[in-house]
Symmetry: C3
Subunit: 670 residues, 3 copies
């Protein structure tokens, strides 16, 4: 990735480029305007399979040769895609069994993208063939700077081929059927398997379903997709192994365990479309940016797709008002993105996404959007010194796909409206608002170096993950954990010994029963210092053992019982929240824990509507100040002296920001 960064001179700036949709005359205008906008990299050929192989085994590479040459001539690097996200119609016409069967039993037909069963050997064979041809032809083309393997891996398929592959995956995981039967608790409802071939993908009973089977199918689906990625990655690497290889991930995407995937990528790459109609979409964007930085242990990541303005896939697609696109781009950079890329360069005339905004919109170079793109391109060049730097955090938040699936993809919980990402965001938000640097960790991540670990609603956690958390606390760390955590093992079986099986000693309390609240039921919680707050939705029926109450219920059937607790565990401290506190009260609990653990925000005095984050290296730190308010300005205090890279002006004591304004202050480290 260092070579890539050097090649593009800092940040990659550009977007998806689909020249096959246009006449060659347009290509000339494209490269001219790309240069005007400072574009230095494009993702090329993402959906070009049908244009490259219009009939089975017949290839048309001429146009791509021309485009590669043209881009190279103009100094634009190419992130060349394997086009396997869009199998040509001839493939599914010849082999309809490639179409993924959906959960409702019907195939997903032709007309969208991603119309393949990832377990299909036929799909994999054809995908390998076109990948090989591309790699043969372009591995050493001077424009090639990176491989973009397929696109937004995602399909879940219930085909017969998926069942075959699922069985193979289960054999690897469990070895024999006795182990599987035990893991899946198949004695319940008489579901014992006596032959591997009896196991099918869990396609039809849409509601009540063996929760371990459903969970394993989620894991399998992620792995089946990963197998597709690995096969193509290994092909391009077999030709040349010094070009970075990635695929583009998606925001809060539940069907692929990105912790596992990221190990196989040279860079984590994110497609993200924060909804301008949602007031706090920049907060969940920040979360995703932190996650993507964390996926590869702090390595700068790639913002691979975003929109210049409105998208077209929702029911309501609001534009980004002037300044919003630039601010969002800088926000990604502030959290260690090393690229700002868009879908797509030029707006399509037809097709499903004809109203998806582009760097060059239908209104052309005179449009507001293109002018903002040109200006952003200029700023990206000013920020070049920032590229390659990253950030460090003392706070970690557990974000775990297994836990997510346990909570949302299996039936029969005390209530069915858990939202793992909402819960995680509730815990992340106070940290974001106080400008704390935060990393995400999985249940398999090392926790070395962190002072605080936040564990939101870790219903399902394996033995190793649970022990890692306990060890972190034992060794002196502070853990903030919320209700309904540590309940089941990694087979979705309730841990024995009373709730919460994995964490009873850790939190110093046992739970007799889980008490989801009735609709509209509101409880009063009284903190030790007399503050009162409300809670809703859930209460653990908590019985203290070694723990003590930080807050108790002031009413209801659990009056006087603990609602928030703390426990000394080894050298550490564990704060446990047994109910859904109103946000302000949860904020206070989380921030108290963080501050007690000795973590200081580096951004005292920064107003709430200004986001502040820092990346840097041994020499410099870069303080990003981003004003998310479109109405208010801000005067932000800043210690020491520095230079705003966007203006080149020296900064000392204060930075003044207009509405939607931004500053990137470079400060030398001592």
């Amino acid at each position: 990735m260092d070579a890539f960064r050097t090649r593009v001179g800092g940040f990659a700036f550009g977007g998806d480029y689909n020249p096959e949709q246009w006449e060659p005359a347009v290509w000339q205008e494209d490269v001219r305007l790309m240069r005007e906008a400072g574009v230095n990299a494009v993702s090329l050929g993402v959906f070009a399979w049908a244009s490259l192989e219009p009939e089975p085994g017949t290839y048309e590479f001429g146009w791509l040769d021309d485009v590669m040459d043209l881009l190279h001539e103009h100094g634009i690097s190419v992130n060349l895609a394997t086009p396997t996200a869009a199998p040509p119609v001839w493939l599914t016409h010849l082999h309809p069994e490639v179409f993924p069967i959906m959960a409702d039993g019907e195939p997903f037909g032709f007309g969208n993208r991603l119309h393949y069963d990832p377990s299909s050997p036929i799909y994999r064979e054809y995908a390998a063939r076109i990948t090989t041809r591309l790699a043969e032809r372009y591995s050493f083309h001077p424009a090639l700077a990176m491989w973009h393997i397929s696109n937004e891996y995602g399909p879940t398929a219930y085909n017969e081929a998926a069942s075959v592959n699922f069985r193979r995956w289960l054999r690897r995981r469990y070895g024999d059927l006795d182990t599987l039967n035990e893991a899946w608790t198949t004695r319940f409802w008489g579901q014992l398997y006596t032959d591997w071939d009896q196991i099918e993908v869990p396609n039809i009973p849409r509601t009540w379903m063996n929760p371990a089977r459903k969970l394993d199918f989620k894991r399998f689906t992620s792995d089946a997709l990963l197998e597709c990625y690995l096969a193509e990655r290994d092909i391009v690497r077999s030709f040349r192994d010094d070009v970075p290889v990635m695929t583009n991930f998606m925001r809060f995407f539940r069907h692929a365990d990105y912790w596992r995937w990221a190990q196989e990528e040279d860079a984590a790459a994110l497609d993200i479309y924060p909804n301008p109609a949602e007031a706090d979409s920049h907060v969940s964007a920040a979360f995703n940016y932190d996650l993507f930085r964390s996926l590869k242990g702090g390595q700068p990541w790639m913002l691979m797709e975003q929109s210049s303005s409105a998208v077209c896939q929702w029911k309501l697609n609001v534009v980004k008002e002037p300044g919003r696109m630039r601010l969002g781009s800088l926000q990604a950079v502030s959290r260690a993105a090393d690229s700002v890329m868009f879908f797509q360069w030029r707006a399509s005339r037809g097709g499903h996404e004809r109203f998806h905004s582009a760097m060059l919109p239908h209104s052309g170079p005179g449009s507001r959007t293109f002018k903002e793109i040109v200006e952003l391109g200029r700023e990206m060049r000013l920020l070049a010194p920032v590229a390659g730097t990253t950030s460090r955090a003392e706070i970690a938040v557990l974000f775990d796909w297994d836990g997510w699936w346990g909570l949302e993809e299996t039936h029969g919980l005390p209530r069915s409206d858990f939202s793992y990402t909402d819960t995680v965001m509730r815990h992340y938000t106070p940290l974001w608002e106080r400008h704390h640097a935060v990393d995400m960790v999985s249940s398999g991540s090392s926790l070395d170096g962190y002072k605080v670990l936040v564990v939101p609603n870790a219903y399902l956690i394996g033995d190793e993950g649970a022990e890692r958390i306990r060890a972190f606390a034992r060794d002196g760390g502070t853990v903030v954990m919320s209700f309904f955590s540590g309940v089941v093992d990694d087979c979705n079986r309730v841990r024995p010994g009373g709730y919460p099986g994995a964490f009873r000693e850790l939190i110093g309390a046992k739970i007799d029963e889980y008490w989801p609240a009735r609709p509209h039921e509101v409880f009063t919680v009284r903190f030790a210092d007399g503050r009162r707050a409300t809670s809703t939705w859930w209460r653990d029926d908590l019985h203290l053992e070694t723990g003590t109450a930080l807050a108790t219920y002031a009413d209801g059937l659990l009056e006087g019982r603990a609602a928030v607790t703390e426990n000394r565990y080894g050298a550490g401290r564990v704060v446990y929240v047994a109910t859904l506190l109103e946000q302000a009260a949860l904020d206070a609990v989380v921030l108290e824990a963080v501050e007690s653990a000795g973590v200081r925000s580096r951004s005292e005095g920064v107003p709430a509507h200004v986001e502040c984050s820092v990346r840097g290296d041994e020499t410099y730190e870069y303080v990003f100040l981003l004003n998310h308010s479109a109405e208010l300005g801000a005067s932000v205090p800043l210690e020491g002296h520095g230079t705003d890279l966007l203006t080149g002006s020296p900064v000392s004591g204060h930075v003044e920001l207009g509405p939607l304004g931004a500053a990137v202050v470079q400060r030398a480290l001592p």
Copy 2:
């Protein structure tokens, strides 16, 4: 059933026991704790098919032998299940055509329970085989006290085998196609059948559908399920005919006509899960208890499944607060249940129902729930004299599956949001609130001995049923009937001669048109005594003939026209309610009719939040006083002298009840 009652020493107390989910070591703890809790009966092996016949024709009875012996050793009687509700995976793997095809055309796959087409000859053959093996082996085992045939019969299937069986059923019903064509009015929309093989299950056109065909398919589905039951029942009876046989029914279950089924059971048995989150779930529970007592003509029935606390199948599963489980159990007993059984004994670690509460929860013997179970077990022994007694009523409420299906399972009515059970509950509630004893009757039941018959919204009723109601009135009975009754015959054809064809003379009025109300439309109704009330939702355009108005509309296009009428019919009195009265006004109409008919509540002065019901025999009556309020106590006047069986204390004049408190007063009859 008397022998069974004697065997368990009064009430059966226990639950479903699934030892195949646990190691034998756990069984020892189970029986020890069962004894501690006073458990004297368990339902065994309900889902054990795969454990008993892990491969086709290979049986493993050893573990069941051990469990039967162990239970017998500890004095626990067994209600042994045929395990046919959960066909093993090998069966559907060998014969996928056994899977029921759902209304959407897709099969219901493996992973839940009840995954069989009841018409499948293959399913029936395998079910008969395992039933035979079980009966061979255990018919004379000393632990055996009852047979539990399969479980919660329910699937509706649209398979080819279902079509074949449907045709067979139709041939039996109609004899020839001309009769069927006439019954189904197939000349409408040109649907004449000319060959039996042209008739399919009504699977696909989800909306507009021949309403007689749809109705017959409901009847057929109930009968197809019943055939499955009968086949297994007859097998176990062929080995030994002195052991009671039952299957477990469900609360307000629309797919099986329990009147027809109950004739074939030795006891009516109910699974019921009143939702603790619903304020009045105990009222609809009371209705179901009365229904189950009525199904077999007043014979005590069995509460076969309930939960100790929360369930797990809903979107929100609230716990039963302390005392609620005991109160609900006593409520069932008060309405002639002779058992208090739970699903299930020990909470499962895995599987879909891992969060369904149990007698022995995950939190173990120290849990609140287990302690309450032990206490309830003790009380059940104190109540032993009550077992076997029953109650009598002078009021009957018509509750009829044919009528239900007519109203809710066929399209094209004046409005589509009829809820038969809601309507029935609106009529039952005033009777419940005034502590009246009430029986349910079907359109085929004898009405001898009743003074009042309540007929809620009997849209569809056959000729015999209609005549039975008319004869009841002619012979001096009081009928309370609500709108849109007597409209169609049992083929869902509008009765000729003007609305309401079956009851025009009975109510003494004709109806020109049915006038459903617009949304939000509210009417004023003025009673003869000047009281005013509102009504909504519906008005019959009623024209009085021999009847007179008890109330008229005070506004709207029907101003001055009758809204509630009475009619002298033979020696009887008929009160007819032609609109949806607000509840308080309907209460008054119903209670006036009851009182005018000379029916007295035996519980004058009992507060509204205390439920009062009575069961007894020739010697004693047992007055149950159940305080459903968790906040309020109550002082309940009680005539005469008695003994509270729960405390052993004498009672005279008054009974004092705390919140959720209960008393069961034994009084000697004169």
Copy 3:
């Protein structure tokens, strides 16, 4: 049609007659009561296929012979149906592939009507055969007055036969695959077709879909249905070509382009069921009546089906209160209907529509409804002079199926909740309220003779249609156009050159971006004269070129920018509305444009609750005054002298109307 009109002596009055549902004895009562009611025409045999051909190739025409003779004897003309809307069960039993496959992949089974794939060659063969037999037998029967081809053509099918037919249709449209690929923009997402056989109906991916393919499939479906109609029409015409032929259309029916169909009919015929529960259903009824008059260039049309009171197909089916059915019938007549027909003559006892009201309801001849029918029949005879006359308008509203499909049947627009008919109605309503005569036009209609053209939300419009609108303005016409018009070509491709590609010069402004509003976002719009109004939902980001602002935004990010504009274009004037104005403000804009164009309402002083419209010929005009209020009367000023045909009384100066009252004033033209 003139011969038909002569034959029935003015207006056709009657309904669907389904004698096959009844015994012959009932037929005698039918004709007697028909005569009593003044019935002079019936639609016969619409669903009688199974009764006419109970087995393949076996015919039973005897009953139909009898009915035809009986009707003729009683002077009742027959609109004889080909019964092909209801294929007999034997047909689909022999050939299940005739069942249409629905969008969810499952066949639409037997039990409703219209259970055929219109592309099925088998269906077409059997339909041709029964049509031929009917035509052979009855073409010269004296009762025959008209042919009623099939019924309410409608099914959309996704069968293999539909794919085959779709390919044939596409070949005719595009000639070669290169042209198709270009038209469909298949280079987007790599959807290039290289063989015709690769093209399937767009059945499965339910959301994101190639928008040109989806659009063409809508066009194809309309045409495939039309092919079925044409085949049957041509058969009956081959026997005798002097009998009018029609099929019955439906209100706001989106699946058939009635402009194209109407060319092939001898009369446009409408089935319409205005919902009495909706306060303004008479306004959209008026729109449909105007549309049906316009479909064949002003020729009187046929009201072929309506209900006498409630229908049964909705969730809530409210009755028509006394007087409402008569008023609605006169409303159709006032807008040039030459018939008043009902579904159906006699209410069915069974079948799906047993609660659909009829001319002769279940309550029989003594019912309110039948009395109103008899009275209406009498009035229709009084109105005989009106039959055959029509009306003229100076205002045209564009109503175009292609535009409808573009807006609602393709995905990926800036927002997904467009309702074309709602938008059209928003523009039509002020014209209706001011009693303006309005015609509808398609994008292919001649605009000669109109002064004003209203173009609501013409998102998709072909080159010729766009040029026709521009020419209309250039030549001096006034155009009122609303936002998001002229965006894409007839292949659903964004027009190049900036938005709105087709109309940038016409409106004198370019649009940089489309700005859908956030939920609950409200904007203030200030008109040049100081009036203020609100707008919501949408804003064009409009940049004036030759146009000028009639109103500007007074707040928001577009403050000061144009919201409503006018532009001089050639000799004409173009008013453009760039946001969703509140209704009152839109009314003002539309009416100002109309008045400025010199169009005067002929009904000054008519109250808002009275509808006024006029039809006439060279000699007389007939002014219809219809009071839609059930509470208020009205005194309506009327110039000149005339005679109220309903009462025979002379009218001068004023007409007094009671609630729901009506007058039809005949006035001699100078």
